[in-house]
Amino acid sequence: MILRSDSAFAFAPRRAAAMTLRYWYLLRSSWPRLVDLVYWPTVQMVTWGFLQYYIMQNAGFFARAGGTFIGAVLLWDILFRGQLGFSISFMEEMWARNIGNLMMSPLRPFEFISALMVMSIVRLSIGLIPVTILAVVFFGFNLYGMGFALVAFFINLMLTSWAVGIFVSGLVLRNGLGAENLAWSIMFLFMPLTCVYYPVTTLPVWLQPVAWLLPPTYVFEGMRTLLIQKVFRPDLMVDALALNVVFFAAGVFAFLKLLQSARRHGALIQTGE
């Protein structure tokens, strides 16, 4: 399909790069923002790491399940921080009262979304890479030892985080900063259902089908299979990817509909609370 340059779906890498540059300038200029990226993942990893260390000394099963807690914490952080990185970059525009400038510029929604996706990876890398190194130093847990499986886990978790981030950004665009709390809290709805720290079989039978509708469930289940049974399950990753395609498409569709609704209701000229 050939898109006209004046189409809403046209994509100019220059404009997406402009937005990425804008967030990079911001991040570079603010050390509290950089510290914040590393602070929480470190605190969480250290807390859960010591808990796992304690349990391993007292239970045979957990001795075999070495690293599942720290692994789960790190993978959960990819999911949570990926979404947060996306949503916070978006909300920087709302906080700066700059969204009007962007919406009346030639920037297309897909270019904006692409820049936010790139920034979520940048922010995640700044926050998580040092923490994964600390996990090796403190607890001898090497996340990168998962090899190709880690790539599959990462891709699936990022896709889910972007799908949720896109949806939340649409809600904030439509409803103003009153919806900001969703950006911080929505992923925690996924936490019990995606079985981050326990197998799906732990859930009541009636809730298990719901868990299997969520792509991260496959990732966390796949991680436990890898760390406990030393088996990589590509079938779980393919199922997660298929669900992620649906989640991502639904996220983009919702964002475009919410943007349309924001235009109809004049929400783009009143972007406060």
Binding site: D6, A18, L21, Y25, N101, S105, P106, L107, R263, H265
Partner: protein, 256 residues
């Protein structure tokens, strides 16, 4: 231009525009067309419908009914055909405060596809007396300097159509006068069309070839400043504005 070529579309053409938020009409059936190279003032009290009108022209709001055409493109449906040829400046829309002026102008220049961006930024820096400040964070500037930066952003793509919302709000008289001078010379140099929403009657009187006065979503009057003054028998546009706002209507013509 040859005699055979089609006339250029009007920079702005509004036909029977209605915008209703839930049940409240913000704009109630207004129509006007702006001529290329003109400066038009859009006057009205709070809630008159000025901001909604400008937002609709920029494609930020969808009309409930009626038609808004900008540089020949239907808004908001065909907005991407023309957004790179227009721009907007308002003290109520801010720019990222932590970014330096140069960084902000670089980002917006890239968004608008400006060629030879470093040269354009240097040129604007010189014209708007910002050269010494280019590497200073935008948040550390005075209100007057911020207004000049917002104007630089508004001019970054050398727009054919410039929309301004209260361009001199919160500025001291000297800086405000300087900004007005810049706007006049920009219009002259580029034959740009400018639409200004303002509460500052002296500003409108000095800059505008034409004044559209809105009240409760409707156009109450529309003419050149001298004709409005004559029609209402007043010496200043502020007095004309007060007559319209308080429903006193046309006095001078009636007296004649």
């Amino acid at each position: 231009m040859s005699a055979m070529s089609a006339p250029a579309p009007a920079p702005i053409a509004i036909e029977r525009l209605v915008k209703i938020y839930k049940t409240i009409p913000a704009v109630d059936g207004i129509s006007f067309t702006l001529a290329a190279g003109s400066i038009t003032g859009l006057l009205g009290g709070n809630g008159a419908g000025k901001t909604t009108t400008i937002a609709t022209i920029m494609g930020l709001t969808t009309p409930t009914s009626g038609r808004v055409t900008v540089l020949g493109a239907d808004m908001p449906r065909q907005r991407y055909r023309v957004l790179h040829r227009m721009n907007f400046e308002s003290p109520y829309v801010a720019m990222p405060m932590r970014l330096t002026i140069r960084q902000n102008l670089t980002v917006f220049g890239m968004l608008y596809g400006v060629r030879d961006l470093p040269h354009r930024i240097a040129e604007l820096g010189e014209q708007l007396e910002l050269t010494e400040l280019l590497d200073r964070p935008t948040g550390k500037l005075s209100d007057g300097q911020k207004t000049r930066v917002a104007l630089a952003k508004g001019l970054i793509n050398s727009p054919e159509l410039l929309l301004l919302d209260e361009p001199t709000a919160s500025l001291d008289p000297d800086t405000a006068d300087w900004v007005r001078g810049r706007l006049e010379s920009y219009r002259r140099e580029r034959n740009a069309t400018v639409l200004i929403a303002s509460h500052n009657m002296a500003e409108v009187e000095r800059l505008c070839d034409r004044v559209i006065i809105m009240k409760r979503g409707r156009i109450e009057d529309d003419d050149t400043p001298p004709k409005l003054l004559a029609r209402y028998g007043r010496r200043t546009l502020e007095e004309v504005f007060l007559d319209v706002a308080r429903g006193r209507g046309i006095q001078h013509e009636a007296a004649q």
